[in-house]
């Protein structure tokens, strides 16, 4: 009997809840694995998938979104060993799970804290509620590969946005493995889409795309590229989270800015009926 041949894994993209190869057919060798090299068209397809998912995800109850994110944290915890085997330190996996749970808890609290009844001089109730902005394009920090990724995805989706993430080009395995976690977490397909490959190829397409509502440039290290992306994003007035400083400590308390930047405020006037 011959020796068993192990099944080697090709790390694929995560678009619309599926794991397709790049439509360009390209891949690149990184972290001793073959990883898909996403093209501009993959970015376009990911935006289409993300847009299609907005209605269901933003329309789900905050409680339901919170439950699904808790479920993702459970799955992440269960795959701890797999991440460690990929070279992610155990502490970082723990921090990522905690970060995920922390954001999940905000799901049904954010609108209480950041919405409210406004005092007006008339017989009206005047109520402001925060709503998701829509599709968010994210350039994930290059490292820490897992904690950085969780720290940019979770705050965007907890409020009902959907995301297209350009993963770290040098450490993409954690991103694809996180996609496998999300795919088994009841998260509807298209809410999170992950592209691996060159930032210089996917990010400009995403920043210029007219059907993207916000960009998070956290992982952009090149100042020139960052400026170019901000200019492109200005074309249709996307909300912009600017690049994180090089010495940014991803394990520190993240605050709420990552969630609140990606929100729109809806204000309703309702007659009091006197």
């Amino acid at each position: 009997m011959s020796e068993r041949v192990a099944v080697r894994k090709t790390y694929k993209l995560f678009i619309g809840g599926k794991f397709p190869r790049s439509e360009s057919g390209r891949s690149y060798l990184v972290q001793s694995s073959n990883v898909s090299l996403a093209s501009r068209k993959d970015a376009r397809d990911a935006v289409v998938a993300a847009r299609a998912a907005v209605k269901g995800w933003a329309g789900a109850t905050a409680y339901n979104r919170g439950q699904i994110l808790y479920r993702a944290a459970e799955m992440l915890e269960g795959r701890r060993e797999q991440f460690v085997a990929l070279g992610v330190p155990g502490d970082e996996v723990d921090a990522a799970v905690d970060r995920w749970v922390w954001y999940a808890g905000w799901a049904d609290k954010l609108s209480q804290v950041y919405g409210g009844a406004n005092p007006v001089a008339g017989p009206y109730f005047n109520i402001s509620t925060p709503e998701p902005t829509g599709v968010v394009a994210v350039v994930a920090p290059e490292r820490p590969a897992l904690l950085g990724l969780v720290s940019v995805i979770a705050p965007a989706i907890v409020t009902g946005n959907t995301v297209v993430v350009a993963a770290s080009p040098t450490e993409p395995l954690a991103a694809v493995t996180l996609a496998e976690v999300l795919a088994t977490s009841d998260l509807p397909g298209g809410v999170v889409n992950i592209l691996t490959g060159r930032i210089t190829e996917t990010a400009p397409t995403l920043a210029a795309h007219m059907d993207v509502n916000a960009v998070d440039l956290s992982g952009v290290t090149d100042a020139e590229l960052a400026a170019d992306l901000e200019v492109k994003a200005a074309e249709n007035l996307k909300r912009v989270l600017r690049p994180a400083p090089a010495d940014h400590d991803w394990s520190a308390d993240p605050g709420v800015a990552r969630m609140t930047t990606l929100l729109e405020t809806k204000t309703v006037w309702h007659p009091k009926g006197v």
């Binding site: 376009r44 935006v47 397409t205 210029a208 795309h209 007219m210 059907d211 993207v212 492109k232 074309e235």
Partner: protein
């Protein structure tokens, strides 16, 4: 060639005289190789059309769109808005061509006619008790005359599928001939409703029947049954118009309708037209798309080609 064409033409014009002659002719048409047709259609769908060729294809496809709204909820305001969009599909870009026609129910024709006057966009109206066609002939003809009188210059009629499937070809033929007379100078498009014809052989027979009856266009579907235009069905119809021109010298147009939603789909059809019947049909006078949502996708792709950035549905009208 000319002699045979002339004799073939006179022979074909005799066919409508008797049920037997029609049946013998239609059942004598060679059968369609189902697997072959599907494979051929799938193969033609794999062509890659890029850059300048794509830009040309998109503009041609826009000119070929029959911008359609056939809803019970159509209002004068809604069809006027649609007609305005037909004249200037992309308000931001004056170089964008207008569409081929607007297609509406007969009751909506007067409102559309007002807007389209002098624009070069044709005005198509469905008639003959669209979509089922299950009413007496007099009513179908009255429906048709009313649409023409209101200003439609193209009439989309439905064939009597009940009679066709029951094998009463003469009845179907006579109805097409009667409608042909009723439309006068307007163009007559004959809807075969291929989704209800069940086999490709039936599609080929119905295509010939419609052309023999005097149709200027043959159209796949009403868009009101689950199965609408497909590539193989359109391939069979394109072959039929090619063979019909070879036999009679008269060119007939083809209009796939329903289910064509993306630029990619539209370009597949254009490739198939070019490969099956040739460039003679690559013109809005001879090939049309019956569609509504297709236009927005064409405009988005057009914008992508001209500006280099992907556009979004927020920047085009909802219809």
């Amino acid at each position: 060639m000319t002699a045979t064409t002339t004799s073939a033409r006179s022979e074909l014009s005799e066919l409508g005289r008797s049920e037997t002659a029609l049946r013998t002719f239609l059942h004598g048409l060679p059968g369609v190789d189902q697997v072959g047709a599907e494979q051929r259609a799938a193969q033609l769908g794999t062509r890659s059309i890029k850059t300048t060729a794509k830009a040309q294809a998109i503009d041609l496809a826009i000119r070929m769109v029959d911008l359609t709204t056939l809803e019970g909820a159509d209002t004068p305001g809604k069809v006027r808005a649609l007609a305005a969009k037909a004249i200037r599909p992309d308000p931001a870009d004056p170089s964008c061509p207008h569409v081929g026609a607007v297609c509406v129910y007969p009751a909506m024709v007067p409102y559309v006619a007002e807007v389209l006057r002098g624009s070069g966009v044709h005005l198509a109206s469905v008639a003959t008790a669209f979509p089922s066609g299950q009413v007496p002939l007099e009513i179908k003809l009255a429906d048709t005359r009313a649409a023409v009188a209101a200003g439609a210059d193209e009439i989309d009629m439905v064939i009597n599928r009940g009679a066709f499937l029951a094998g009463r070809y003469k009845e179907v033929y006579d109805e097409i001939v009667a409608t042909r007379e009723a439309v006068g100078d307007a163009h007559l498009k004959v809807i075969l409703e291929t989704g209800e014809l069940a086999t490709y052989d039936n599609v080929r027979r119905a295509s010939w029947l419609a052309m023999l009856g005097g149709g200027d266009f043959i159209k796949t579907s009403t868009g009101k049954v689950p199965v609408a235009a497909t590539l193989p069905v359109s391939l069979v119809m394109l072959e039929a118009v090619r063979d019909f021109r070879a036999a009679t010298g008269r060119q007939v147009g083809v209009k796939p309708a329903g289910g064509i939603k993306t630029t990619k789909d539209a370009i597949k059809y254009l490739v198939m037209v070019n490969e099956t019947v040739g460039a003679d049909w690559l013109d809005p006078d001879w090939f049309r798309f019956g569609a509504s949502s297709l236009l927005n996708d064409l405009l988005m792709q057009r914008t992508k080609l001209t500006t280099g950035t992907y556009s979004g549905p927020d920047y085009f009208t909802l219809d």
